[in-house]
C-alpha cells in the first residue's frame, strides 16, 4: 500500500508540473504580449485585442498541445521498442524509424499525393508505411538465426538511418521551393503548428495508443525473454508484430508533423524507469507525461532562446540526449534497466 501511495504521489506531481509548464508556456513567446493580457484571455476571452487572442489561441496553444502530444508519443514509442527489442538503447530515432517515417512523408509531398479520405489526412499513412517498412527491414537485417543481437540491431538501424536521410536530402534538393521549411522539418521542429496538424494526427495517434494500452501487461511478459514469454502463454510473434506496428504508427503520426526529433524516445523511458520501475502499466503513462513535459520545455526554449529566430527543437533534444546516450554506452556493465 505504501508503494501504491508513492506512485499516486509521483503521478500527481508529474501532472501538476505538466499543467504548470503548459500554462507557463502560454506566457512565453517571441511576440511581446504582456502577462495581464494572457491572464484575462484565459479567464475571459473578451477584453483583449483580436491579434493577441489569435496569437494565444491559434499559435501558442496548439503548439503547446502538439509539443505535448509529440513528446508523449515519442516517449511511449521508445518504451515499447525498448521492451520488444529488450534493449535500453533503442529509440525510434536511432534505429531509423523516424527517418523511415520522414521519407514516407517526403515522398508523399514530392509526388503530390496529399489526399484526405473521410476527413482523414493521408500524410500520416505514408509516414506509417515508411516507418513500418524500416522497422521490418532493420529487424530482418539484424536477425542472426533466432536471435536479435543488440549490436547488429543498432548498426542496422544506424545504417538504415543514413540511407534514408540521404534519400530525404536528395528529395529535398529536387524540390527546392520551400527548402528552409523542409530543412527545419528534417531537423525536427514544431514551428508553424496549428490545430490542423493536431486534427491530422490525432486519430492515428489515439488508435495506436489504445492498442499499446491494451497490451501493457504483455510488454512486461515480453521483458522476460521470448522463450519465457511463450511458456507463460503469450503468443509472442503476434504480440510483437502488433506492438511494433502500434509503436511505428505513433512514431509515424508524430514525425509527420514534427520531423525527426531525436533522443526523447531514448532518454525519457529511462528516466521514467528510474522513477517508477519497469512495470509498463505504470511506466508508459508516466513516460507519456514526462515525455510531453520534456518536449514542451525544449520547444519553449527553441522558440525563445534566439527569438525572433526559431531553433529546430531537434537540436535541443539531441544536445540533451546525445551525452546521455554516450553515458549509457559507457555504463553498459551496470544495470541500466
Amino acid at each position: 500500500m505504501l508503494e501504491y501511495k508513492k506512485n499516486i504521489l509521483i503521478y500527481l506531481t508529474a501532472i501538476i508540473l505538466l499543467v504548470l509548464l503548459g500554462v507557463a508556456a502560454l506566457f512565453i513567446g517571441s511576440s511581446d504580449i504582456n502577462s495581464k493580457d494572457v491572464i484575462s484571455y484565459i479567464f475571459n476571452s473578451s477584453g483583449v485585442s483580436v491579434s493577441t487572442g489569435i496569437i494565444i489561441f491559434e499559435i501558442r496553444l496548439p503548439r503547446i498541445v502538439l509539443a505535448f502530444i509529440v513528446g508523449a508519443g515519442l516517449a511511449v514509442a521508445g518504451s515499447v521498442f525498448q521492451a520488444i527489442i529488450r534493449n535500453p538503447m533503442v529509440d525510434p530515432y536511432i534505429i531509423g524509424i523516424s527517418a523511415g517515417a520522414g521519407t514516407g512523408v517526403m515522398l508523399a509531398l514530392f509526388l503530390g499525393i496529399e489526399i484526405a479520405i473521410f476527413n482523414l489526412n493521408t500524410i500520416p499513412v505514408f509516414a506509417f508505411l515508411g516507418a513500418a517498412l524500416t522497422v521490418l527491414t532493420v529487424y530482418q537485417l539484424a536477425r542472426v538465426g533466432r536471435k536479435l543481437p543488440v549490436l547488429t540491431f543498432l548498426l542496422a538501424g544506424v545504417a538504415m538511418s543514413f540511407i534514408l536521410n540521404s534519400l530525404m536530402s536528395f528529395l529535398m534538393v529536387l524540390r527546392t521551393e520551400n527548402l528552409q521549411q523542409l530543412v527545419y522539418w528534417l531537423m525536427g521542429s514544431l514551428a508553424g503548428s496549428s490545430w490542423n496538424d493536431i486534427n491530422m494526427i490525432l486519430p492515428y495517434f489515439l488508435a495506436a495508443l489504445l492498442v499499446i494500452v491494451f497490451y501493457l501487461k504483455d510488454l512486461n511478459i515480453l521483458l522476460l525473454g521470448e522463450e519465457s514469454a511463450a511458456h507463460l502463454g503469450l503468443n509472442v510473434e503476434r504480440t510483437k508484430v502488433i506492438l511494433l506496428g502500434a509503436a511505428s504508427l505513433i512514431t509515424a503520426s508524430v514525425v509527420s508533423v514534427s520531423g525527426s526529433i531525436g533522443f526523447i524516445g531514448l532518454v525519457v523511458p529511462h528516466i521514467t524507469r528510474m522513477i517508477i520501475g519497469p512495470d509498463h502499466r505504470k511506466l508508459i503513462p508516466l513516460a507519456a507525461v514526462i515525455g510531453g513535459s520534456f518536449l514542451l520545455i525544449a520547444d519553449t526554449a527553441a522558440r525563445t532562446l534566439m527569438a525572433p529566430m526559431e531553433l529546430p527543437v531537434g537540436i535541443i533534444t539531441a544536445l540533451a540526449g546525445g551525452p546521455y546516450f554516450i553515458y549509457l554506452l559507457r555504463n553498459k556493465s551496470k544495470n541500466i534497466w
Binding site: 501487461k217 512486461n220 522463450e227 511463450a230 502463454g233 512495470d279 534497466w337
Partner: protein, 425 residues
C-alpha cells in the same frame, strides 16, 4: 500423459534427434542426461514446443501438442529455462505473479485467487521473505527458486527444467533438487529435468533417460542406467560407480588419469609394485601416484578398500574375487608385474589363507628391492598359525634386498632414496 512418437529434429542439416519414443506418466520424476550435443536440451525444447519437431508428434494428454493454444499450454506445462537471468528490476512478487498470466483477463486486476496461489507457491518455494526484493539482488539459488515459483503459479501438470542447477553452488544444487523432489512427492507434479550432473539426477530422479547422439541409449532406474559400461560407451570415459550408502543410489566418480592421454610423460621411470589389502595402502597409494611413480598392485580382492582407491587412481590391478584363495592365474599375473617393477612394497597387511600367496611370492624374487612395513609385528598379523610368520622370517633372514620400514610416513622419502640409488647405478 506425455508421449513422443518417433520425433526427429534437424538443425543446420544436422540430425540432432533421431527418432525419440517416450512415454511419460503422470507423477514421474525424470532426468534426461547425456553428453554435450547428445540432444538432451533439444528434446526438452521439443517437448515444451520451443522447437517444433521435423518429424513425429508430441502428445500431451492424448492431444497433439501443436494443437494447444499458447494459453492452454501454459496452464498445463511450465518451463524453467536454462538462463534465468532477468536484466531488469522487477520485484519478486511481480515476477511470480506473471506466472498467473495464462489465467488473467486482460483488464481484470489481481483477483483473490491469483493472490492466494502466488502466496501458496511462495510458501512452498520459501520465497515469501524475498517478496519485496528486486530480482537482481538475489543470489543464484534464490533467483532459481523464484523462477520455479513463477512456474508453479501457472498451476501446471508438468514442470520442465533445463539444467536447473548448472550455474549454482553445490549447496544450492541440493536445495533445488530437494524442492523438486518435494513437489513431485507432495503434489504429484510431473517433473522432467535436463542435467549434465549424473550424480544429482541419480540421487533425485526416479527414472533416467540417457541420450547418445540423438537417440535413447538407456532408460530406467538410476542403477540400471548408470553402469560403468553405459557411461564408457556414451561418454567415452572410465568411471567408478559406488553406491551412496544413504540413498542407495549409484554414485559416479571419474577415475583420474584413466582417461589421461598425457599420463606417460608425467611418470617417472621407476616402477613400484604394491602388495596390500584391507585399506593398508590407501594412504600411500595417493602419495606415490602424486609423486609420479608408475604403480601396480596385486593381488587384491574386488571391493576391498585398497581396490577402490586403486581403481580411482587408475592403477593396474591384479584382482581376485573375495573370500576364496587366490587363483594360479592371478598369482602368475602378479609375478609378471613384480618382474617388471623396480621396487616392491609390502604393506602391514594381515595374512590369512586367502592371501598367503601374496607373501610367498616374495621368496621368488631375492634380487628385487623390497620395502616391508614393520610397524606392526608379524605375529599380530598372522592369522594362519605361524605360517605367515615363518615365511616373513625367512625373507628377513635370507634376503639382502629387504628394507624394513617402521614409520609409514617415511615411505616417500625412502622410495626417493632408492630411486636415486637406482639411477646412479
Amino acid at each position: 500423459m506425455l508421449k513422443t512418437d518417433n520425433i526427429e529434429f534437424r538443425y543446420n542439416k544436422k540430425n540432432i534427434l533421431k527418432g525419440i519414443d517416450l512415454q511419460i506418466n503422470k507423477g514421474s520424476f525424470i532426468g534426461i542426461i547425456g553428453p554435450n550435443a547428445s540432444g538432451k536440451s533439444t528434446l526438452l525444447k521439443n517437448i515444451s514446443r520451443t522447437l517444433i519437431a521435423d518429424k513425429g508428434t508430441v502428445y500431451l494428454d492424448k492431444k497433439i501438442l501443436n494443437e494447444y493454444s499458447s494459453l492452454e499450454l501454459a496452464k498445463k506445462m511450465a518451463v524453467v529455462p536454462q538462463n534465468t537471468e532477468i536484466s531488469f528490476n522487477f520485484n519478486v512478487y511481480d515476477i511470480i505473479m506473471m506466472g498467473r498470466h495464462p489465467y488473467q483477463k486482460r483488464w481484470s486486476g489481481l483477483n483473490e485467487e491469483d493472490k492466494k496461489i502466488v502466496k501458496e507457491v511462495m510458501v512452498v518455494t520459501d520465497t515469501l521473505k524475498l517478496k519485496n526484493k528486486l530480482i537482481n539482488e538475489l543470489s543464484g539459488g534464490e533467483r532459481q527458486r523464484v523462477i520455479i515459483a513463477r512456474a508453479l503459479a501457472q498451476k501446471p501438470d508438468i514442470l520442465l527444467l533445463d539444467e536447473p542447477t548448472s550455474n549454482l553452488d553445490i549447496n544450492y544444487q541440493g536445495e533445488i533438487y530437494d524442492l523438486l523432489k518435494y513437489l513431485n512427492q507432495e503434489f504429484k507434479l510431473t517433473i522432467i529435468t535436463v542435467s549434465h550432473d549424473l550424480n544429482l539426477t541419480a540421487q533425485y530422479c526416479e527414472e533416467l533417460l540417457l541420450l547418445k547422439e540423438g537417440e535413447i541409449f538407456a532408460a530406467g532406474s538410476a542403477a540400471k542406467v548408470l553402469t560403468e559400461e553405459n557411461i564408457k560407451k556414451v561418454y567415452k570415459a572410465e568411471v567408478l560407480i559406488k553406491m551412496n550408502p544413504i540413498s542407495e543410489k549409484p554414485f559416479v566418480t571419474v577415475i583420474p588419469e584413466a582417461n589421461n592421454k598425457f599420463k606417460k610423460e608425467r611418470y617417472k621411470d621407476f616402477k613400484i609394485h604394491v602388495i596390500a589389502g584391507g585399506g593398508t595402502a590407501q594412504n600411500f597409494l595417493y602419495k606415490l601416484d602424486n609423486a609420479g611413480y608408475p604403480i601396480s598392485i596385486g593381488v587384491l580382492n574386488v571391493g576391498d578398500a585398497d581396490w577402490q582407491v586403486a581403481k580411482e587412481l587408475g592403477i593396474e590391478i591384479v584382482e581376485a574375487p573375495p573370500f576364496i584363495d587366490i587363483s594360479k592365474q592371478a598369482i602368475e599375473k602378479n609375478r609378471k608385474l613384480i618382474q617388471k617393477s623396480d621396487l616392491v612394497i609390502l604393506s602391514d597387511l594381515p595374512f590369512g589363507h586367502g592371501n598367503l600367496a601374496n607373501l610367498e611370492i616374495l621368496l621368488d624374487f631375492p634380487k628385487k628391492k623390497k620395502v616391508l612395513f614393520s610397524n606392526h609385528s608379524i605375529k599380530k598379523r598372522d592369522y594362519i598359525e605361524g605360517k605367515a610368520e615363518l615365511i616373513w622370517n625367512k625373507i628377513i633372514m635370507e634376503d639382502e634386498n629387504v628394507i624394513l620400514l617402521k614409520d609409514k610416513n617415511n615411505l616417500i622419502n625412502k622410495v626417493k632414496e632408492l630411486e636415486n640409488v637406482e639411477m646412479e647405478m
